[in-house]
């Protein structure tokens, strides 16, 4: 059997010396991570000093220090409370929500192979809205169920419906997306129905403000809960980083690379749905973060999920900390729901990213 020789102009490049390549990469990665985390800490530290109440920067940090056990508080209880009970949890939750929503968006986009997917594509936020509205307007659950609790239950119901529907319809990726759309429509309609028939003007205003995504009124409890869920979900997603890479060419290609497609899909969908449900229950449906930040992060760091996931989390956290600072100061004395600001900012940012990535394609 004749063998045609390879074309003469094929070069063979020897692989680079392995040791130094890996070494410099670890060093470079380490520096980047430190810079990213430093940026986040700096953002939080600065954001906490900004607000309508005029409290000087040294005073702000003395409050923080005193609560961390270093030094005595020297402000009145209310001013101390403004910093420690209002601004701190709020800024920290902004970071957690930004990170969480961005990570969920990344996973959704990779798993569903849809660059327009976001954490809410599975109807989780619509379910949360229905749950919240049912508690506030219909008073279901008496005083025992908080708005956040109702929202969480609603979110889980919606996700359960999506799983059930997609399983009945075959379980593949596009079936999941379609089920999500159906659930989204159903629960949005339910929310509208309850609001239209049972709410009075004041109740509606309050609930709608919250549904747009609002970090006002969050407390330390929300911060701890959401941080815990974020940590667990992030770990799960990082463990599946390689698997998510494998989905680049579709689920069959992933299966051919040794990925257990059905199990991976369930695990990741459940993890992201749980995180999204927790975040939406605490802070309403903050839009655009989960859609835009993954694209921004990919533009920064490429598509390998092992780096993409942490970078997206950091970028999302920093982004939302600053957007929330803007939302609570731009229209002083009122507050703009942070979801409104993310959408307003998100659109031009999205266009910019698309424009830049199109040039390279």
């Amino acid at each position: 059997m004749t063998r045609t020789e390879p074309a003469p102009d094929t070069e063979t490049h020897p692989p680079p010396p392995a040791g130094t390549a890996v070494g410099t990469r670890i060093l470079r990665d380490g520096l980047l991570w430190s810079a990213g985390i430093a940026l986040l800490l700096l953002s939080v530290a600065v954001a906490v000093t900004i607000g309508p109440a005029r409290i000087s920067v040294p005073d702000v940090w003395s409050v923080v220090a005193s609560h961390l056990g270093l030094g005595e508080g020297r402000l009145t209880p209310i001013r101390d409370g403004i910093i420690w009970n209002l601004r701190m949890p709020r800024t920290l939750l902004a970071a957690v929500c930004g990170a969480g929503l961005a990570v969920c968006g990344t996973v959704m986009q990779s798993l569903l192979r849809n660059p327009l997917a976001d954490p809410f594509v599975l109807g989780v936020s619509s379910g949360a809205s229905t749950g919240a509205v049912v508690v506030v307007v219909l008073g279901v659950g008496g005083g025992a169920v908080s708005v956040s609790g109702g929202a969480f239950v609603g979110a889980l119901c919606s996700f359960a419906l999506v799983l059930l529907l997609s399983h009945t319809l075959g379980g593949s990726t596009d079936r999941v997306v379609l089920s999500g759309v159906a659930a989204m429509q159903l629960f949005s309609a339910l929310t509208s129905f309850v609001v239209m028939t049972a709410a009075d003007a004041e109740q509606t205003r309050g609930v709608l403000f919250w549904l747009l995504g609002s970090l006002s009124g969050v407390g330390w409890g929300d911060v701890w809960t959401c941080s815990a869920v974020l940590a667990v979900t992030l770990l799960i997603c990082l463990a599946h980083a390689r698997t998510l890479d494998a989905f680049a060419f579709g689920q069959d290609a992933a299966a051919a690379l040794g990925v257990h497609v059905a199990r991976t899909r369930i695990v990741l969908l459940c993890a992201t749905a749980l995180l999204t449900a927790a975040l939406v229950s605490s802070a309403g449906a903050i839009g655009f973060v989960g859609l835009v930040l993954p694209h921004a992060a990919r533009a920064l760091t490429g598509s390998g999920h092992r780096r993409l996931l942490p970078v997206t989390a950091l970028a999302g956290a920093v982004f939302l900390v600053w957007v929330d600072t803007l939302a609570r100061t731009v229209l002083d004395p009122q507050e703009v729901p942070v979801g409104v600001v993310t959408s307003l900012i998100g659109v031009p940012v999205f266009v910019l990213i698309l424009h830049r990535t199109r040039r390279s394609a």
């Binding site: 390879p6 692989p15 392995a18 849809n114 680049a248 051919a256 690379l257 394609a361």
Partner: protein, 281 residues
């Protein structure tokens, strides 16, 4: 030449498909298909569209369940072997591979190392060596940073093959890899595959290419294997008429005396043997 008969598997047998039968939408897609490519050989899978080639390759890769029948790797079924272990042995190149994500050539080829890496580990020196080796073999070393979306169809095929090579497989399944390539690249690619020390099963349309490069050839029609053996044995005028419904002249004028097929115009040919009286190849 009769198709390989079923035999109890023994270790070292490589990838074998035994009596695979699959239905889809009431239609039989594969009907008792058995394929046992000899180790290190390049096996061409021939047949017209709809004969079940793609389905067979997917079943052999483990992407589709075997329905009735079994696929074994070294005597153990794919399920027993485990997906990752199978992926470390068997690499698949699909007809159409596309993605929306902005990946570079290097990123795509690196995907081939996924079956070899543990969940939390970073990529190690052997991964890098495999990737660079694969790039070199497919002539893509200088294009490592190029974006997937700027590649032509043929270049994309080569990148997918590089990815498959990065898996360091012992078995390679390719579904019509020469579809988008110009003739020079078709020849290059097939000679590369034939030269590789892997067992390759390549679905092909082009009879002449199959004749030139394959050690053995399996011909399918309507979900059944109708012929199997060396190209000289299998590629005959009768077979071309029977399976492809066209007239041809087959002469042993190819390299090394292999068959060379020259098609004749003149419209479709009815099967010389009707369905009821088919005497077999």
């Amino acid at each position: 030449m009769t198709p390989e008969t079923h035999r109890k598997g023994t270790p070292g047998d490589g990838l074998r498909a035994t009596r695979i039968t699959r239905e889809a939408g009431g239609r039989i897609v594969l009907d008792g298909v058995s394929v046992a490519p000899p180790s290190g050989a390049t096996v061409g899978l021939l047949g017209p569209n709809g004969s079940g080639k793609t389905t067979l390759l997917r079943v052999m890769a483990g992407v589709l369940g075997p329905g009735a029948g079994v696929v074994t790797l070294d005597g153990r079924t794919l399920a027993e072997t485990g997906r990752r272990a199978v992926a470390r042995r068997v690499a698949v190149v699909d007809q159409h591979a596309d993605t929306q994500i902005d990946l570079s050539v290097l990123d795509v080829v690196r995907l081939g190392r996924i079956p070899h890496r543990r969940p939390w580990s970073a990529s190690g020196p052997e991964d890098e060596a495999a990737v660079h080796g694969a790039l070199a073999r497919t002539g893509l070393a200088d294009r490592a940073a190029q974006s997937w979306h700027t590649l032509s169809g043929g270049e994309r095929q080569r990148v997918q093959i590089a990815r498959a090579l990065a898996q360091q497989p012992r078995e390679l399944l390719l579904d019509e890899p020469t579809n988008h390539l110009d003739i020079q690249h078709q020849l290059e690619l097939l000679s590369l595959i034939a030269a590789l020390p892997v067992t390759a099963v390549v679905a092909l349309h082009d009879l002449n290419l199959a004749a030139m490069f394959c050690d053995r050839v399996v011909v399918m029609k309507e979900g059944r294997v109708v012929a199997g053996g060396t190209p000289s044995e299998v590629i005959t005028e009768e077979l071309v008429a029977e399976v492809y419904r066209v007239r041809a002249v087959v002469t042993p004028d190819g390299p090394d005396g292999r068959p060379s097929v020259r098609f004749l115009p003149g419209g479709a040919v009815h099967a010389r043997y009707g369905h009821d009286e088919r005497a077999g190849p």
